[in-house]
Amino acid sequence: MLSTTRTRRPIGITITHIALAIAIGFGALAGAAGYWGVVVAPELTRSPNDAAVIAASRTVERGEILDRNGRVLARNERDENGELYRSYANQAVSQVVGYYSRRFGSAGLERAYSAELAGLATDPLADALRKFGGNPYDPQDLRLSLDYGLQRAAIRALGDQKGAVVMLDPTTGEVLAMASNPTYDASAIADPRTAEKTFAALQDDPDNPLLPRATLGRYVPGSVFKIVTAIAALGSGAITPETTFREQAEAGDDGLLVNGFRIREGHSLRRGQALTLPQATEISSNIFYALAGLETGGANLVDFAGRLGFGAPLPFDLPTAASQVTNGRGEDPGGFVDDVELANAAYGQGETFVTPLQMALVASTVANDGVLMKPRLVTALEGKRGTRELGPEELRRVISADDAQAIQGAMRRAVEGDLGRQFTSGAKVPGVSTAGKSGTAELGGSGEPHSWFIGFAPVNQPRIAIAVLVERAGRGGAVAAPIGGNLMARYFEEFGQ
């Protein structure tokens, strides 16, 4: 029929479209409400920034924090008004345990596990039940893998030097010691009578004692980074443990020329010879690792470093800084500017920055036959309603066991070999086969270099892996290596060989 008119009446239809669009918009809002209110709610409600966590922390008697032997590291006290405050065992654990203060907030595990310590966020069912009354809070005690004796020994070993030590079990990822020096008196921050003065002084301290260097300090690695290059070179198949470079033999006393930049050795041992990976590792050859890095390529180097945990904060109980191979501003594969940067990075002197914890994981991965375990501090949460054990967690296999064993052998030569001994004096644990690598991180300018050591022992059945960093202390072999050796020896004293 002719009853329709062409031009008019679209308003009804367009309004229907608008109604539909509005409904979709509100659907999106409903989705967002579901996302925040249900999907990510468990994470948000146990965050230390959550109002309920903050409120509970003020009223609830927080759980205690215990070391692996049950020694109390953090407990509650009451002041003369009956108000609760925290008290800590020793300054040595402050950078791990942190502090909880009503005035100045919280840090360390006290912050990361604020919800659990205050008795919130135990498990979903308990959270649901809590709404129906009863005692709403079930404060959890934190059981740590930390060994109080070893931790104090680590702090003592650093003495008055700035630096960090990380010791962990390579097979389980349990952190036994994590020392950052200088440390601070957490009890003085938590105690309301001394809090203000202490906190103000700490914030003004130029040595920055509130910084947990082991997890948040980023340092030039120097030669310890060669182990990462070795992992990438072997793992990617770019070289084998027998590969040698003709260019190394041809490099004269002036070193190796890469794009007009000279790479020199730090010493004159075995000059003019083409070395294999174990030989080069023993004498810490810059030229070999520069060539190995160029052979591996930037993309592989960054990729394998990423598998070790570089490039993003590590999955850990405490906040960590991301370690980097390069700042990624270049156009070359992996983000390097040119081959010069890649060659320098391969022996740890490019735009490479690492945390001590990350380097401990590198040693731990080699020790654990190429498998990276998730580093852990908290092994159990103990509450009134029972204990929740947190077991070991394998993050990923980084390289094959064969490749890992080749590096183990190379690192053993670096500690026990006739030439290697000169670079890692004192790293050898008496009576225990020991592997390691020292590092001397040149910073440019006139200051002393950072002193590094990473290692593990025993070589065949590794039980302890370590990373030692001492800021501006001199050569790695002279300062960090003996600290590493002594602390590993201390471990075997305590835990038996």
Partner: protein, 486 residues
């Protein structure tokens, strides 16, 4: 008109009075009874939570525990709703019966929320009202009164239809007044203070904008649905759209810059684009307008620090959870604490350690407070009520007798809907946080009165039986038809 016996002249005057006789509104009454039950139960839950808190072992069977928190306030509010119903029954108009109960429900939830938040968030009001809950009650009552009065009294739209340029001028004057004389509150220049009165002109401005746009678009719609301005190979919308579009774009960005009010700019421009689409059915205009707006905002974000900061906070509030991102982070935490079922009315955490958990919770974050206490279920319920109000308004628009009324009702519904969307999205980190209010729930006189006016106009427009719109003007029809001719 020289016409004869049977061909009557079109009625030019509204048929007032004489015909008024009471007409029952059973649906509205049924819904209002339900509203009353819901609010009494909610208030009892709130009262019991507040009273039961000091001594955890309150007696389940003690009736005094279960009294509403503020019996008088609740009784007055419900009384006002039923009085509004009674007035409409007596007036006998065939207006919408869902809007009043739906808005009444939102207002009631607002009342419960404001009674439960810290009362000292506002100073004392007037009529002896003290504290947040009582002041909000006064505004709610006035809002219901405005809605009902407008819904009953307005029977002719000629005062809106004929003076659209006057309205536009008034709107621009109001805007300029705010630009120049507005006082800065919290970095935004939203409040206009004249003597003892203060208010937010952008609330009123949105209604004026809709009236003007409805008039302008309905007059030019038929003429220009399919004409294009050609600029070489580029097809542009016809000039009469291009000009107001550019003007609206400039005004919206001007509001962003001068008033620092991203919310109002988004609201105005969004309403404008959707009305444009309603009138022309050209999606390209909407897309083009949105692109222009976002490009403009992006340029402004680089030029003006405060806009850039807002956008940075929106993208990652957790980067600075205790500083810049604090409000939004706490809002999200409130939704998270609420979970599925909520903590229960009165059981949330509006204060910690003597400070308000979410600053400006009563104006900018009422949805987050509801999320904490009523949970996801409650938030979805509230959003659902908004959706019904909007769809109801759009329905009134679709059924209206002519283009002007159609666009007017659509625009009024959109003003409420888009505003609710913008602030809810801000609370949920879907959009950057802005300072617009959540209609009918946020604390605030300007917002409640103007939204009452909007509901009143929608009610009036929903009555199709009163005055027919003026017959189409000849000149216009002529052109419609001539366009089709070869």
């Amino acid at each position: 008109m020289t016409a004869s016996a049977r061909s009557r002249p079109a009625p030019a005057l509204p048929r007032i009075l004489g015909q008024i006789r009471p007409r029952p509104r059973w649906l509205e009454l049924r819904l209002l009874v339900l509203v009353a039950i819901v609010l009494v139960v909610g208030s009892a839950s709130l009262g019991a939570t507040v009273r039961g808190r000091p001594d955890a072992g309150a007696d389940l069977f003690d009736p005094s525990v279960w009294l509403p928190l503020d019996v008088t306030a609740l009784a007055i509010y419900l009384g006002a709703l039923f009085a509004a119903h009674a007035a409409q029954v007596l007036a006998g108009r065939r207006t919408d019966q869902v809007l009043l109960p739906a808005v009444g429900m939102l207002g009631g939830i607002s009342l419960l929320l404001m009674q439960r938040l810290p009362q000292d968030l506002v100073g004392s009001g007037f009529f002896g009202a003290e504290g947040l809950g009582q002041v909000q009650l006064v505004w709610l009552l006035l809002s219901v009164a405005v809605a009902t009065t407008v819904g009953i009294v307005v029977r002719s739209d000629s005062w809106l239809r004929q003076y659209k340029y006057t309205w536009a001028a008034a709107g621009i004057a109001l805007l300029l007044l705010t630009f120049v004389f507005g006082s800065d509150v919290g970095g935004q220049r939203l409040t206009l203070v004249i003597g003892p009165f203060s208010g937010q002109p952008s609330e009123l401005l949105k209604v004026i904008l809709v009236i003007f746009l409805a008039g302008y678009l309905s007059e030019n719609r038929a003429l220009l649905v399919e004409q294009d301005t050609r600029l070489g190979p580029i097809r542009l919308p016809p000039i009469p759209y291009l000009v107001p579009m550019a003007a609206m774009w400039a005004i919206a960005l001007g509001i962003v810059v001068v008033q620092r009010d991203l919310g109002a700019a988004l609201l105005f421009f969004g309403v404008f684009l959707l009305l444009l689409y309603a009138a022309t059915a050209r999606i390209s205009l909407v897309i083009g307008g949105l692109i222009a707006f976002f490009l403009g905002s992006a340029v402004l974000a680089t030029l003006f620090e405060h806009i850039g900061t807002r956008i940075a906070i929106w993208l990652d509030p957790f980067a600075d959870p205790l500083g810049a991102g604090y409000q939004v982070v706490q809002s999200l935490h409130a939704f998270a604490r609420g979970g599925l079922l909520g903590m229960g009315l009165g059981n949330g955490l509006p204060m910690i350690g003597g400070r308000v958990t979410i600053p400006e919770v009563h104006t900018d974050f009422p949805l987050a407070a509801l999320g904490e206490e009523l949970g996801l279920i409650g938030v979805l319920g509230v959003l659902g009520i908004y959706l019904v109000i909007i769809e109801r308004g759009l329905r009134i628009g679709a059924a209206a007798a002519d283009d002007f009324r159609s666009l007017l009702a659509t625009g009024l519904a959109l003003v409420v809907g888009i505003q609710a969307f913008i602030i809810a999205a801000g609370n949920l980190k879907v959009l950057p946080l802005t300072g617009v209010t959540l209609p009918f729930i946020s604390y605030g006189g300007s917002s409640l009165l103007v939204n009452g006016l909007v509901i009143g106009l929608l009610l009036a427009l929903s009555d199709k039986g009163v005055e027919p719109p003026p017959p189409p003007r000849k000149r216009r029809l002529d052109r419609i038809l001539r366009r089709g001719a070869p």
